[in-house]
């Protein structure tokens, strides 16, 4: 029982990393109409950067996170501004091929710069320890992750629904030409959205550094799970991404416990069932 409850907590925090990466994936797809196959690699890049600043250089935890977001955003900007932008007019297969090429580049670049696997740095002091919830220990860091995921969700929702910027982005998403006609700088919106998506992924990676090992295979593992989430929740919709993340995160946590050999098989099984029963995803319009 203890273990089951603890595993639920682990699953929820896993769900939050997944939520951050799939939110980025979803927002980029919603506005640009492109699925960034290299999004897992941006997650990994965020993790490596945060690890470098916080774990290796011993800088302030918050500063490390901010720097990692900034660094990943710059990489995202380069990807969009100098490459993807020239492919909006051609068959979307080439956009996919381009981002697929970026996975190869980023994954190997990470290996070149950082080498193999590292030790995990300590959890920052103020997030260490356990709370007691119903008489059971509840790690503060996990609570922090869960809170961070929820806060990001709320900020995104408010940002898209309540701000001028959000309206501009939504207008661009629903009709590029019209947005352009009413004076929206569409290329700038595209760059901005891609950077936002990249930062969300990086945030997921950065938040995980004190509790998870970063390794060069992280990017591929994350993008696969993000895809599974997207298939379950429905492409291009944030609510689906959130619920899908919860399902995949919690189930794979229990999967690890119950069927250690085929932990991943469980989520593939769910994906297959969704594909057969509701191919457009649970939350598609």
């Amino acid at each position: 029982m203890e273990t089951l409850a603890f595993q639920g907590v682990v699953g929820l925090s896993m769900a939050m990393y997944l939520w951050l990466i799939s939110a980025g994936l979803t927002i980029i797809f919603g506005v640009l109409g492109v699925i960034n196959f290299a999004h897992g690699s941006l997650f990994m890049l965020g993790a490596y950067l945060a690890f470098t600043f916080y774990g290796l250089l011993g800088w302030n935890f918050w500063l490390a996170i901010i720097l990692s977001l900034a660094g990943t955003a710059v990489v995202g900007w380069v990807m969009e501004r100098f490459f993807l932008r020239y492919l909006y007019g051609v068959d979307e297969a080439y956009q996919l091929l381009l981002t697929f090429g970026f996975i190869l580049i980023l994954d190997d670049a990470v290996k070149m710069i950082w080498g193999g696997v590292f030790r995990i740095p300590d959890i920052p002091a103020f997030l260490e320890g356990h709370w007691s919830v119903f008489g059971r220990p509840f790690p503060v860091y996990n609570a922090f992750i869960i809170a961070a995921g929820i806060v990001v969700g709320i900020v995104l929702w408010l940002g898209f629904e309540r701000t001028w910027w959000g309206r501009t982005v939504r207008a661009t998403a629903s009709d590029r030409e019209m947005a352009n006609a009413i004076g929206v700088n569409v290329p700038r919106v595209f760059s901005g959205v891609f950077m936002l998506g990249a930062m969300l992924a990086a945030l997921g990676g950065a938040l995980g550094t004190p509790v998870r090992v970063v390794s060069p295979g992280l990017g591929a593992a994350m993008i696969i799970q993000a895809f599974v989430i997207t298939v379950i929740g429905g492409l291009g919709n944030l609510k689906g991404a959130f619920v899908g993340s919860l399902i995949v995160g919690v189930l794979s946590a229990y999967g690890t416990l119950l069927f250690p050999v085929f932990e991943l098989a469980l989520i593939y099984l769910i994906m297959a069932v969704v594909l057969l029963v509701r191919p457009q995803g649970l939350f598609a319009r």
Binding site: F100, G101, D108
Partner: protein
């Protein structure tokens, strides 16, 4: 663009420079063991294997319009399947045919799920299911040997019970076996893409809606293309165990799925021969790069990006574009 798979079905046989070039190439391949040593034969086998792998990928991508990032899954099913069979009974033909069919069966099962979607979704699904096979190769230790893979796979003799049994112990023999299998498989693929089925695939690539309104169940044909690509990937994979004597999980990894993608992009998706030419170029480039650095994938990625940004037609289309200039009026046979 687009002239490649689009052969004009005119009655007149056009004798193209292609025919003599192909003849010369086959002759050169036949003579290779006389000139080149073990290593040359080994690399040539690798090129042939990748050619088949990429050819199948391009039937799916270039001809049917479905971009799969998970072909390594079926390649691995072919490789592991063949390896298991070879460990069971030392018969090369049994292993290769068995591995290929297993991969086809896997493509049929996963294909039913993947072809429910097209375009972006399809690509995502293939990558995900490909990685599912990778994690199986890694974690189903009892069957796959986990990290260590399957070892000690014999290069079994080519045996047709009661008829012949040819030893495959020397690299040269195995090279001729792979060459023969490849030529047959390439000829079949050529015939296929120039058949009604091939035209149907191209129709689906160009317009699914219009294709459905010629009375064709688009989904069924997408599945057929997927299974064909799976069979080719499986055949390519099944030729591997007897060459390497071992099969390890990286054959199933998504980076292996990048191989046929790159070979096809290099050679050109618009031409039948594109993936084959691309497979050759791929090994030439790789051979040069690995001399300088162990980080081969970053270069692979850079080449993909450069090709996508600037040379979407690949090498073969550059060559044929040239050739067309000298031969005006060929269209409309």
């Amino acid at each position: 663009m687009g002239e490649g798979p689009v052969a004009s079905p005119g009655r007149r046989r056009i004798v193209t420079p292609g025919r003599s070039a192909i003849g010369g190439l086959v002759l050169a391949l036949l003579l290779l063991p006389l000139v080149g040593g073990q290593y040359a034969q080994y690399v040539a086998i690798q090129v042939l294997i990748l050619s088949l792998f990429a050819l199948g990928f391009n039937i799916l991508f270039g001809y049917t319009g479905l971009l799969s990032f998970g072909q390594a899954g079926f390649y691995a099913v072919g490789a592991y399947g063949c390896a298991k069979l070879l460990l069971l009974t030392p018969s090369l033909l049994f292993g290769v045919v068995g591995g290929t069919l297993l991969a086809g069966a896997a493509a049929l099962v996963l294909g039913v799920l993947c072809i429910r979607h097209t375009r972006i979704y399809f690509s995502m699904l293939t990558l995900a299911f490909g990685m599912m096979i990778f994690s199986m190769a890694l974690k189903w230790r009892d069957f796959t040997g986990g990290d260590d893979g399957l070892v000690g796979i014999p290069r079994a003799p080519l045996e047709i019970p009661g008829l012949v049994s040819v030893s495959m112990a020397s690299m040269g023999r195995y090279y001729y076996f792979v060459l023969a299998v490849s030529l047959v498989a390439i000829a079949i693929a050529y015939r296929l893409v120039h058949s009604p089925l091939g035209l149907t695939f191209q129709g689906i690539r160009d317009s699914e809606g219009r294709m459905a309104f010629t009375g064709v169940s688009v989904r069924t044909y997408r599945l057929i293309a997927f299974v064909i690509a799976g069979l080719y990937a499986g055949l390519a994979g099944a030729l591997l165990p007897a060459l390497e004597n071992t099969v390890t999980p990286p054959v199933a990894h998504w980076t292996t799925s990048a191989d046929p993608v790159l070979a096809t992009l290099l050679g050109g998706i618009q031409a039948f021969a594109g993936p084959i030419v691309g497979a050759f170029l791929y090994f030439m480039i790789k051979d040069v790069i690995v001399r300088f650095t162990e980080y081969w994938l970053i270069w692979l990625g850079i080449i993909v990006v450069v090709l996508v940004m600037g040379f979407r037609g690949g090498v073969v289309s550059l060559a044929t574009a040239r050739w067309r200039v000298h031969r005006p009026g060929r269209e409309g046979a």
